[in-house]
């Protein structure tokens, strides 16, 4: 299973963290420090895998952002690499050519998307279309709510004029 997902920028800044196994806040900080120390200093031609404290870390760099997942020792690394890519493709489709800035400001949306893809550390849906449908269903609800809110506020605004 996936123990955690980290998105870390090249400068070592945390962009997203999702923990599927219990880690205390202190442990989390330590994990992030250790992994970014290992990962950011690796050359471009080396493996995308790291052995780390009995577990395996699979990472991939997209532009200046590192996506990294920690998995069990008997999991399939290449598959995990593709899970990462799958996630990035879904993000790309959702944001429209996703860039790091999108994730910085919309980290909560990235969380929602990740929740549709991976649940409790296992990949739950491998169809991009299905994930996209679910997300857009949720978003349409959000839009509806917003329109409602704005129409009400418009009414109020007009009434108070």
């Amino acid at each position: 299973m996936i123990h955690f997902v980290l998105l870390i920028s090249r400068q070592g800044k945390v962009r997203l963290t999702k923990w599927y196994s219990p880690y205390s806040q202190k442990e989390r900080t330590k994990v992030i420090r250790e992994i970014s120390g290992l990962m950011l200093h690796r050359g471009p031609k080396l493996c995308n895998f790291l052995e780390w404290g009995g577990l395996k870390v699979v990472y991939k760099r997209y532009a200046s952002l590192y996506f990294c997942m920690c998995i069990d020792p008997d999991d399939n690394e290449l598959e995990t690499l593709e899970v990462i890519h799958h996630f990035v493709e879904i993000l790309d489709r959702y944001f429209g050519s996703v860039c790091e800035l999108d994730l910085i400001f919309n980290f909560h949306k990235a969380y929602y998307i990740l929740d549709e893809l991976v649940i409790a550390g296992e990949i739950q849906e491998s169809s991009k279309k299905t994930v996209a449908q679910l997300i857009s269903a949720q978003d349409s609800l959000v839009e509806a709510a917003k329109e409602e809110a704005s129409s009400i506020s418009n009414i109020i605004a007009q009434a108070t004029k």
Partner: protein
Amino acid sequence: MGSQGGFGQSKEFLDLVKSIGEARSKSEEDRIILGEIETLKRRIVEPDIPKRKMKEYIIRLVYVEMLGHDASFGYIHAVKMTHDDSLLLKRTGYLAVTLFLNEDHDLIILIVNTIQKDLRSDNYLVVCAALNAVCRLINEETIPAVLPQVVELLGHAKEAVRKKAVMALHRFYQKSPASVLHLISNFRKTLCDKDPGVMGATLCPLFDLVTIDVKSFKDLVISFISILKQVAERRLPKSYDYHQMPAPFIQIKLLKVLALLGSGDKQASEQMYTVLGDVFKKCDTSCNIGNAVLYECICCVSCIYPNTKLLETAADAISKFLKSDTHNLKYMGIDALGRLIKISPDIAEQHQLAVIDCLEDPDDTLKRKTFELLYKMTKSTNVNVIVDRMIDYMISINDNHYKTEIASRCVELAEQFAPSNHWFIQTMNKVFEHAGDLVNIKVAHNLMRLIAEGFGEDDDTTDSQLRSSAVESYLRIIAEPKLPSVFLQMICWVLGEYGTTDGKYSASYITGKLCDVAEAYSNDETVKAYAITALMKLYAYEIAAGRKVDILPECQSLIEELSVSHSTDLQQRAYELQALIGLDACAVESVMPSDASCEDIEIDKSLSFLNHYVQESLEKGAQPYIPESERTGMLNISSFRNEDHHEASMHGLRFEAYELPKPMVPSKSPVTYTPSTELVPVPEPSYSREVHTSTAVPSISNSGSTELKLRLDGVQKKWGRPSYSSGSTSTSESSSQKTVNGVAQTESVSTSTSRAQATSSFDLKKPQVEISPEKQRLAASLFGGPIKTDKRPTSSKVVKSSSHATEKPPVAKAADTASEKSTPVQPPPDLLDLGEPTVTSSAPLIDPFKQLEGLLDQGENVSAPNHGAVNANKASDVMSLYVEIAASGQSGGAVNPVPTNGDDMLSGLSGMGIRTASPGGPAGSSPLSKGPNLRDALEKDALVRQMGVTPTSQNPNLFKDLLG
């Protein structure tokens, strides 16, 4: 959205994110976040906060927590938000609590009720949100509260809900298997769900269930096979395709399950062969996901009952992996090789050079994986090369976790395959010296026992040689600074027992050394206890032998120091020593007999020698003894006694007798090992050939026992006692032994063999001329076993061109290293790495936001068509150039006009990624759109400007398209 800013949040929040982006150091970031925490603490308790505002506060809390700070003051507000009726807010609430709370948090009890309500909701999105939370938050105690509802949701109309319900049940199973065991039939049902997503999700719990109990799922073999067949034949909806592979993630899961079901089951395995062959054939090896499936196939084939044809296919796939240029595939190849080697041990030999390349690769990950492979293929013929390499590597790393692992592997291999006692002691010394505190204490005890008991052989000379070589090596090592405690204990014990046995060293010399140790490690009581007991033994032997004992002054002061020690244990030992020195030779002889650590101490448990005394006392009117069990109103003494006993065994020397060495019955050993050999699904083909090792090797390598136990009963056969092996094998053994032990001898041996058999072909290593002789020698020593023929091509090349080869190596090596060095310099063909050089130089300097703000006006000036152009660039589909599609031919169909050369593309793309507002941005990319891209991107661009974040060439990274 106007006033809210571009991304739906307030200016305040955007400012926060921006300032974090601008922070130059971790401490600055921390300061900003601490300020934010203060603000939020104040704001969040204000009365009548509008809900939308509250939602933003919660998201800000998530941000704070994500950056590693404590936001626990706001948890309760997130919990409250889950109670809200609006899905929008509820979703945010659930997101926050799943991120904040671990399953054992107290607040969870407040959410359970909400979850229960939401699981009953009519809106499937609400149910989904609740199920997400269930997966993260429900713990063992709260499972019963939601279980019935979750089970009911397995029949929900929406497939998304069914899928999440399955995943939730899987989570329950992980938390508390008993809670869902009665639901196994439900999993069987959902496996047949018409939605592939639900079916795929069901494979997760089924995999776990099958792992625990294979037998009760054998009936599903047919179903899994037919599903896999359908998937491979592209019967699933197109949307499950991923990079032209049909539902690869589902395929991988299925292969994992099949591997479990087919393991050791011939009948089940036979049903799988056809479909596995199909999947093998259909794997697209030019893309990463294809290789992932292929790797899983190899794993499956190596687990199930072996099939020659499939094994060949797997071996071919492995050699493709190993010959690949990318490290990832090499890594997978090495791993797969390690799996297959259990079934067909000869497969490694054809890949020897690839393996050695990986071993010497600068990439640590690959190196470790290769060590794992070597560990699996260790035999008595190559053990010293492998273990020496492992130890060298162990010394060079700092990672304690891995150090421990590799140290215990060294110990295990040395114990199983050591070619000679001397080598064994030396190896163990190295391991203890460099990783002594990391290895299990049992290893030290076993080694002591081994030295004491010898190897169960009859003649004592080998044993005493072993001991004196141990003593000698320890005396050499003892002066080294900062030895691990465990190692010192062992040294003290051995010196005490055998320091003076061979008469080479005088007692005063050894005692002096022991005193030095006690002094140098005066903080370590255990070491001191070992040292003083060793002193006692040495003096005892001297007295018993009738020699005069002079106690060195430093020794005297040590005894005095210890007799007033805080530790009663040390005190007792010191007093015992003093008392012993005062005794006469005869008494000492019986108290401390020489070399008696293996003797049985007979204990008269009934204390019959006291009978007389007891009788007398009773006659004088003493109370008779009442056994503990018959006494009333007394404390339970036995528990005290146990503790006492425990403590006694905790520190200090073991005074109780070691086990008696088991009588050696070589013919029995296969019988002894049967439980472990059962784990091996297949009898290894090498059994007949390597008679002398086969009994122990396969069973040990497969037993998977982590217990570090010396197998004293197996040792004798392997440690060079040719009398047990048949004539023919012993000759092959001896010659191969030579190859291994003396590196220099390798060539001579291989020469003869290569001349003898010049027929076998070896197409694999065509570019071999460049291979340095050192490497070849290593290969020969690693792989060259009894099977000489396979080694021939390597060595024959050396021989044929021996005159060149011997002179050439520096050149060849230089070429090697040169090419190695030059490779990293070349711009990597990785799409995403191209921006690197500029990034590195500017990274610390760039201020992603500040410089942009000034450009706001300019940004507004930029005309719409310009935007269009820029975005069109951005939109050009780069995804198809996804780097992992290693073969450049694959990308031929891509949009980019220059598809073959990755670098060219990159330079174009990196420019595009920058999304500059400068007119006439990078040209040459076709404006092919990807999804709703163009408009989105336009909007995004505009929004970004509104927020005051203007893209410039100065901070390309944040704006760079992640996929291009």
